[in-house]
Assembly symmetry: D3
């Protein structure tokens, strides 16, 4: 049996609140720039996060990585910080960048990559709704 | 062609933030009662709302109700008040009841029913996530 | 083991074209009444049809009805007439009624019910899109 | 605020193997009766189970039932017995009835109902695939 | 915060009718070549179109591109021409090429790309049904 | 009209049973390694398999490949061997490798590629559940 390079994806979910706000602009300018998303009371989403790994599965297990270990790492380092949170108020990374799905994909990548064997993480795809997602590949 | 009694359902979507809080309890008791949902920074969801009508379609149009009219009514009376809102802070009805999907289904029913011909509204089903919904039938 | 009354649902799919047109009205009035759906060149949908049966499963098989038989009946009597068809031009029933999902649900019921054991058919739910369906129960 | 009777549904998932076999019939007759499902090596499904409750939400919580408690009950009494199991070989109830989705819905109802407050359980809907489900209401 | 290259995808929907026909062939040959899709009365689909952009999000907004602007461009240049249309009869591009999902993906790319900043459009994925899609990347 | 290189994806489904077992380990070690999946009675899944092709559509048909031919090849060479099967007991390839979704994606690729024109097959993506998939690209 030949060695195969395979991509594996596992989906995680979290629910969070967010809003968009540029502190250098007044309220009217924020509303023009961000529309309904500028409402500082916040709104929220059921986010889905696809974590994609890439490499050669182990011959004995046929697996790229142990999924129970992956689940534990994602829960401890990502979901604990994002699930049932207000991203603006409670996640330090979003004090200095907008909590868009573009930036969330980057945040999850930068959080996860150091926890995984070098080169294993292939992509992070972050769904804000079923119809809007961002993907970052490091 | 015989007259048929038909149910018709149309789905609407909104994104909102919420949390659960009983003002008669202290923070520890709220946390015990509501778990992660007690976080007063709020979290959020992509809600889906099925509006179900029931009756006999008009012979000329084959339709139970004009969907453009239904869309307008739902947008003006329901989505305007819920979409991109913090339900606790911005929707008066949830100052005195928890913004659970049970109560949201009731709120949507009570908001919509007076706007529609008597007897037309059959049910409101409110999805908080793909896996959790509440339905109220007046 | 007690006898249980169970509902069983099986989903079928077809793709068809349709439009709405009232021959007693001129083009402008049809456009006002039906909007984009009045375009007589037609448009189309991926329809889904849930056929629901209700009754007591046979003890030996644990089944309400043989699904291969149901599939054959639905294909021969319903899908043959609707799939890859223009409903207005090719399905006689829609020469005298608009091909709305309300009327399609009625058409499928009236087509299927005589082919099945009396009392077995419980409901027909017809999805025109993921967000719009009609249900008819005879 | 008036008291409302609400239906609440929560979805659970399990993966299991099964096959259909009538011990009173020979292999050829089983194959005729059950087709591909007669293969005694077994095949399997990703099942989804909707547990529906019905009643009046508590005023303080806005909830029909505590979801963490419901999750615990469903995991301990239903999912522990069905998830990652061969239904024919490992679930006693299916030694004497076929593990069809009709019978699985009945099994889940009869397992769950005694664990919940009387009258709370409204329906169990069991999806064998996205396109085939059975529902039992006690 | 480092600059990240991100892919962003937004989904749009339209409903249209189509059929396949080669004018150089007679009806029997068209039927052999295209099967049910050769029916010139037309049939139809609920199409979904994923528009993917790629680049570096703006630091101030955390966004790759303003979504309200993208929505307006897609509606004006793509959806206006395809939604509730008969692709064969009403879209000039499909007078000289079959309206397959392969060609639709190409059509959407070629329509959208000149409306967007150079290099921003990354891919167009066109779903004809949930189970069949084509993707074109310019 | 310019020549376009397009990717086309078509989804197939099968239901199968499997389990994970390393014959060089005792039962306790298998249970530690594979968790619930080590249960040799087997469990199962509704698998989905995306077959992706890549190339230039024919000008006359606008199609990359005849879908009826693709369906026939996939049914005869892949689905016949996997659908309603116990992968461990009935598929020779999985006597010497674990039937993980990583290995299933590889198996489908290696089975399909020789049946198709050289270079046409672009990727095989194998979903074990909605939330877990593996992709192999030869």
């Amino acid at each position: 049996m030949r060695q195969r390079i395979v991509t594996l994806s596992r989906t995680y979910r979290f629910s969070a609140a967010h809003y968009y706000h540029d502190p250098g602009l007044d309220d009217a300018a924020n509303a023009r720039l961000f529309g309904k998303c500028a409402n500082q009371h916040g709104h929220g989403h059921n986010y889905r996060c696809e974590v994609r790994l890439r490499g050669v599965p182990a011959v004995e297990t046929g697996m790229l990585f142990d999924l129970r270990t992956l689940d534990r790492i994602v829960h401890e380092t990502v979901l604990e910080r994002l699930d049932h949170r207000n991203l603006n108020a409670e996640v330090e990374a979003f004090a200095t960048q907008q909590p868009t799905c573009e930036n969330l994909a980057g945040f999850v990548w930068e959080t996860l990559a150091p926890q995984l064997p070098p080169g294993l993480l292939d992509a992070v795809r972050l769904y804000e709704t079923d119809d809007l997602w961002a993907e970052y590949r490091g």
